[in-house]
């Protein structure tokens, strides 16, 4: 299950992109990340999650998010079960 992002909290630092590419490929390369922050003309942000996002036991992107905007799929599943 992929991560979910609360875009109202996102500040656009893109640490998640760096953390994801590092976690999956051992290098800093946002173009290889499964998560991408997009800046909109109206000042808001959109975050795209690719289908590749599912495999992390503990998503590094969520660990590095400074505002706690990212929730891992496993956490969601646990919350749903309880």
């Amino acid at each position: 299950m992929p991560v979910t992002v609360d875009t109202t909290r996102c500040v656009g630092c893109r640490l998640c992109e760096l953390a994801c590419s590092f976690s999956r490929h051992g290098q800093f390369n946002p173009s290889l990340a499964a998560i991408a922050v997009c800046f909109q003309d109206d000042g808001t942000l959109a975050v795209a999650i690719s289908e590749d996002c599912a495999a992390c036991r503990r998503p590094l992107c969520a660990d590095f998010c400074p505002v706690g905007a990212i929730t891992s799929g496993k956490d969601q599943a646990s919350a749903a079960r309880s």
């Binding site: 656009g12 590419s21 051992g26 290098q27 390369n29 109206d42 000042g43």
Partner: protein, 649 residues
Amino acid sequence: MPHGHTGKMLWVDLTAGRWRIEAQDPDPNFFGGRGLNQRRLFELQPEGKDGLDPQSPILLSAGPLVGTLVPGACRLAVDFRNLVTGGVGSANLGGHFAAEMKFAGFDQIVIQGRSPRPVYLLVTPETVVLRDAAGLWGVDTWETENRIKRLENDPRIKTLSIGPAGENGVRFACLIGDRGRAAGYGGCGAVFGAKRLKAIAVRGGLPVTAAHPEALLDEVVRFNREVIEKSDFVKVHRGGGTLAAYLLPGENRPHAVGNMSGEFWDNASIGKVDRAVFDRRYLVRRHACFACPVYCSSVYRVGDLVCEGLQANSWRAFASNLGITDPEMVMRLHALANRYGLDGDHASAVMAWAVECFQHGIIDREETGGLELRWNDGPTMLRLLEQIVAGTGLGAVLAKGLDAAAAEVGRGSRRLAVTAHGNALMEAAMRSHKAWALGIVTSSKGGGHLRGAPAVEARRISPELSRACFGIDDIQDPTAYENKGKLVAWYENYKGVVDMMGLCYLPSMWMELGLFTPDQIARFHHLVTGADGDAATLMHAGARLQTLEHLFNILHAGFGRKDARVPEKLARIPVDRGPFAGQRLDAEGWEQMLDDYYIARGYDPASGWPTRERMKALGLEEAGRRLAAAGLPMPSAEAAGMMGDVACP
């Protein structure tokens, strides 16, 4: 590919419309960013050529920590010959451009020549190409970014562009990235304009790697947990950036008020335009630069404008220094400066000076194109800003910069202008905070607080802590002159390190002593690049960079101690109210600080030039030979009355 670096630089010759890629090994003396740029600028800048000359280069570089998880490593250094001072031009911006440039494959881009027609430069891992920009000429920076993204069909492109101010040669035109990030000082926007370079657009796809990736990850996690998340500075700045920190509620702290005539602005005025007002009325969300967990910026929406980057500087520029208490007008002036590509500090300085000249009857409506200039008049200031960009009315004079405008207008207007090395100042607290004032005036880019002026001076650092951090006895009293020269020299070297690495100066020892100590920077640098340099090595490199910039200033602008003068207005008019009432800069204290400063730098105190021994200790003999060949031999330590190389580090 060397770790932390792309190992490549891009040379662009706009005259010929050609470019080439060169391999570039990591430089153990200048590292990257401002260091690498200044080293090449010193080599490339021809003597006797203005910064607008096609032969004069402009250089962009991102340091070795940029593109990694090291927090706040996002800065781009932009270096060139300063259009205002004739010496070092050096600007720096955050946002996302620097990291994207590295992901596109380049540590550095060097631009030379002049294109026969307007162009923009597109750089991706697959291509480097000069695109026709005729359709973008005259367009503001925000729309330029939008259009390039559409033209290239890629919304994730990052741009660095000029607006009409740069195209029209305004001497304090700047470069804008991410709509609200400015490479402000020195006129780099006009350098782009003279080269007919509308923008550089970058798009990544390549990696940045670390020498010790797992250890780096552990260290960043530890640093975030133990330092960033426990920092008072970070806590305050997450609530509204420097705007929140600068305008602490109810505090009668110094500002720049009414063309730097005063430093006290009453709380009633501040309350109309403080951070809480902006947040309540206009806040869309908090905003971060690339890889920064501090997210000190904010995005605001005012009517049709969505703008970012309103920090303490912009507030000082467009609120207190012009006396404006309408928050919408402050936002509109800030947004317009960004769209037109104007340095907000210098724009404020010339406009505030014009208002004061008008109030004193030095200039009249005939010269202003019919405008009546007065304090707290946002709509008129918007029109004056338009005049500056268009070169109409009084704007044609103001567009030359404050120093040139004062010379042209004459009639006693010089006394109303606050400058250092010919550069306009728009600063708070210079009368009361002595190291702050010294660092602003001795700045190697002519003037400004982003070199050796220590923001921590306001924090009343204890002597124990001062000795532990700086090896300096007592800096506790901001109004005292003692020990401040040494402190400024220390911070100049430290800022060199920060800029060479590509770090941000805000979450650093500049603001809070526990943030990014030289030891910590050395640790990150080692984990990213594998290089072994310790803190002392880095600080020595910072001193080398600072001295190289001073040599550039001597060679191209003839600067020395004679130019590091107290701005006359700050000596003549004391602070009239508030906790620092009565404070001003006095000549005797200033000269004492300068003596201490030059000795701490290892310079001859009489001339303010580095000694031959100091240059040798820093490995700058080659630069020294160039100056000697130009008839500018540096003094010996013996002639300067100094024993060997006494500077620290």
